[in-house]
Symmetry: C2
Subunit: 201 residues, 2 copies
């Protein structure tokens, strides 16, 4: 994986410029893709001075990595927040799934940006999901000890199963343009039936 750096702004004015670059980068990467977007496009569309970009980012990849990290943090925090107050693994999975799906519905560009990392650098893509998986396994393990998660299933595999369900049921929901909050809740409950007891008889 390539290493590349960003520097956070230190002033209020800097903060405004930084955010302009972030927003423009996100929009252009999502619209045209990472490869087809140039630093000049980002500078031009952000309406910032040419040198300003390099104050904060080493290069285009540094901006991309910043955005990806931001998504990762936001997605994790959203799930963690949603799970607050719930005690059983069923309730926690349900809250996490629902919050992920609603996040995907609000910001479907997340899929594009995250999945394009496969082309940007396969190591970034791999690291993205492997780190999610590791933290998932860690949390599932606690609930194996509590007797709420089956103890005879490989937890790494379980983590990819759960990530796959969240991502693809997220797509199912994103595809339905006029879906209501109640319909999303219903789909989440249908999913949870499978997570809890399986699909086959």
């Amino acid at each position: 994986m390539k290493t590349t750096n960003f520097r956070l702004p230190k002033t209020k004015v800097g903060d405004i410029t930084f955010k302009k670059i972030i927003r423009t980068g996100k929009r252009l990467f999502a619209k045209h893709g990472f490869q087809a977007t140039s630093i000049n496009d980002i500078i031009e569309k952000s309406k910032v001075a040419a040198g300003t970009f390099y104050l904060y980012f080493d290069n285009k990849l540094a901006l991309y990595m910043y955005l990806l990290e931001e998504y990762k943090k936001e997605i994790r925090e959203t799930s963690a927040m949603a799970a607050v107050g719930y005690l059983t693994r069923y309730e926690i999975e349900r809250a996490g799934l629902k919050s992920f799906i609603k996040y995907a519905k609000r910001d479907p560009l997340a899929y594009k940006l995250i999945w394009e990392s496969m082309s940007v650098d396969p190591a970034i893509f791999k690291q993205y999901y492997q780190s999610f998986s590791k933290s998932y396994v860690y949390h599932l393990m606690e609930f194996v000890d509590l007797g709420q998660v089956r103890s005879d299933v490989d937890l790494e595999t379980a983590s990819y199963v759960l990530m796959g369900i969240a991502n693809f049921v997220g797509l199912q929901v994103v595809f339905k343009e006029d879906i209501t909050e109640e319909q999303i809740d219903w789909i989440v409950d249908e999913c949870m039936k499978i997570v809890k007891n399986g699909l086959l008889t």
Copy 2:
């Protein structure tokens, strides 16, 4: 969704040229992405005469759509072939999952090409998975009637759950560079425990 056309070659020589273009297109789209690849790049790297490209494809999108259709057909046929001779839904799901994962391991570029359709044209991406989902629902329905699939779960949701599991467990396997055939089988069986009986107690 944009409509665009391709024309199959009618001669043996044409067939060779056609295949050269297909192979080069696949490689360049996978390497640089659809947006950053030009028709000229494809013509140059395929070493075909400039006009030849247009004999077969209206434009770059036509070639991309051809490749996507090819993947879709190949993935479906591979699963269908793998399931031949199995009678229970458990065995069919297991064979389909294993064949999908092995396909992904052999040709991980499939993920890139399919998922990039989100940027090429969101309608293509949506149509890709919605058509998979529809055919999955149709097959699951038969097994609800046979009493082998739960009758109290929404089958559309179940189809996205199963596609999500296949795609993400496929990634889990692609990420492991030195994984053996036996280890893949083991992961598939761990998955199937969840598909059969769920993950939570």
